[in-house]
């Protein structure tokens, strides 16, 4: 039985362990972060490959939003869209962001489940910094959201919505979706670190997703909202995600860079908060 390849450190004692031979410095840390994020995204892709059920069941809700809500509101012309874009086209990026939000919010519940099952502790005993673990999970949610987003784009296309075909803009939209999803996964994992118990988190998850959705510009422009709702919408990262997606996919927004910058800053803050709270999950 030999499972250690020649040249690799052999199991067992007696051999001096040399910590100094390990790569260190900021570049090595960055490389390790990239490697861990890639690893956790790889795991997510493998899981989606093994079980696609969720991909299909999660497509039902956005399909209903576009097919029923979207079609009806297109007919009654109740919502003034910028530059007169068809309402269904205006709605599509909002629904893409919504399905990413619903996926991402699940990650806090998942991390508590992994804690209860002992999976999280095992990951935390590998040479993976807390922040890399959180970033990896956040981007894994981004990968899943992206695949779900593609499904929604296909549904929208079937309903006659024409989105951009510019490959650069599509890549940009994919990045926005991944970063937005990463933020909400971090928000969810931060709450997980605060409440620690899974059943409590499920309630909170339910309680925040719909308010986040309705107070964003996913369904209607912020300017037709009452003042108090506009204020909430301004601090709701989902609005910035939706506007960035609209700017890239249907060409409406004029503040694309600001939207992206706000999303990135929010995600960095989310990663920091969730990483700081992660030890709470491990120690209870």
């Amino acid at each position: 039985m030999t499972f250690a390849a020649p040249g690799a450190p052999l199991a067992g004692s007696g051999e001096p362990f040399s910590p100094d031979s390990l790569p260190h410095g900021p570049l090595a840390s960055l490389a390790r972060l990239a490697s861990r994020v890639a690893t956790l995204c790889w795991v997510e892709l493998r899981k989606i490959r093994h079980d696609r059920t969720e991909l299909y069941t999660r497509a039902i809700q956005p399909a209903l939003w576009l097919l029923i809500y979207g079609e009806v509101f297109t007919r009654i012309h109740a919502i003034p869209t910028p530059r007169g874009v068809p309402y269904l086209a205006y709605l599509a990026p909002g629904i893409i962001a919504q399905s990413a939000l619903f996926i991402a919010i699940f990650y806090g519940i998942q991390i508590i489940w992994e804690r209860d099952a002992g999976v999280l502790t095992k990951l935390m005993v590998t040479p993976t910094p807390r922040s890399a673990l959180i970033t990896g999970k956040a981007f894994a949610s981004g990968v899943r959201s992206l695949i779900q987003g593609i499904v929604v784009v296909i549904i929208a296309a079937l309903l006659g919505v024409t989105l951009t075909v510019n490959p650069l803009k599509l890549i940009g939209a994919a990045l926005v979706l991944v970063i937005g999803s990463a933020f909400f996964a971090c928000l969810s994992m931060t709450i997980a670190g605060l409440v620690v118990a899974r059943d409590r988190l499920m309630g909170i998850g339910q309680a925040i997703t719909m308010p986040l959705f309705f107070s964003s510009s996913a369904l209607y422009p912020t300017r037709i909202m009452p003042g108090w709702l506009q204020a909430i919408s301004k601090v709701n990262p989902l609005s910035y995600e939706v506007e960035a997606l609209r700017g890239l996919l249907i060409g409406t927004s004029t503040t694309l860079w600001l939207d992206c910058a706000i999303l990135i800053v929010a995600t960095l803050a989310g990663i920091t908060a969730a990483s700081l709270l992660l030890p709470r999950l491990a120690s209870s």
Binding site: F3, A4, S13, P16, S18, K122, P127
Partner: protein, 279 residues
Amino acid sequence: MRGGGAGTGVAVAEAVRCADLTFRFGQHTAVDAVDLAIAPGEMHGLLGPNGAGKTTTIRMLTTLIKPVSGSISVFGIDVTARPMLVRRMIGYVPQALSADANLTGVENVELFARLFDVPRKVRARRVADALEAMGLTDAATRLAGTYSGGMVRRLELAQALINAPRLLVLDEPTVGLDPIARGVVWEYIARLRDEHSMTVLMTTHYMDEADANCDRISLMHRGKIRATGTPDELKGTLGDEATLDDVFRHYTGDTLDKAPEEGGIRDVRRARRTARRLG
């Protein structure tokens, strides 16, 4: 990683050294000024009733929680000061059966190969070898969700071994397994340490398993280590006919028969959490 070791001078260090190690949950002292030394290559058993502080000690050793006071080192490296280095030397199998049910056997092990930076060139080979070493080659491409309890435990050992750890930490390795699966898991653990002279630290409730497999045993009760020695030494103190069970009772009082009055709170909380999850 091999050779040299310049400036570290750890070649003769003990595999594990705890000095005055203490941890508290609020008012409750879970681990109380524990001193413990484990020699390289030793199979050491940490025994004690529920709430004795065994798992808390292991959580400090595996960098999951920080001691309130005292120190703990692995092969001469301080766990609190350099947790990332210590993690590279440890293979850890937690109490719960914790392989990812939604991944195959190969993927479960490959995940840990990646997290331990096993170079891409040798990764597939090492993963296959680790699975073969645990007798899982035939089941390697099946989802871990289809594995039996004993197979999951062996899969977890394969995960823990992928980094060729110098210290293997097993928290209740055979809990929840049927007697045959327990026997098989012990066979694999024994083979591992025989062939790699790996240091093993394990906790268990099963006295017979500790007696048969451990070189030395520490009896822990209410956060303190009450006795340490080889199974024969410990039994010898109580006379010729004594079993490890007798030794255990001698040092822990009658806590085996009674519900623990204190220190069991966390287990209760955990059980309640499980109940809620199921309910």
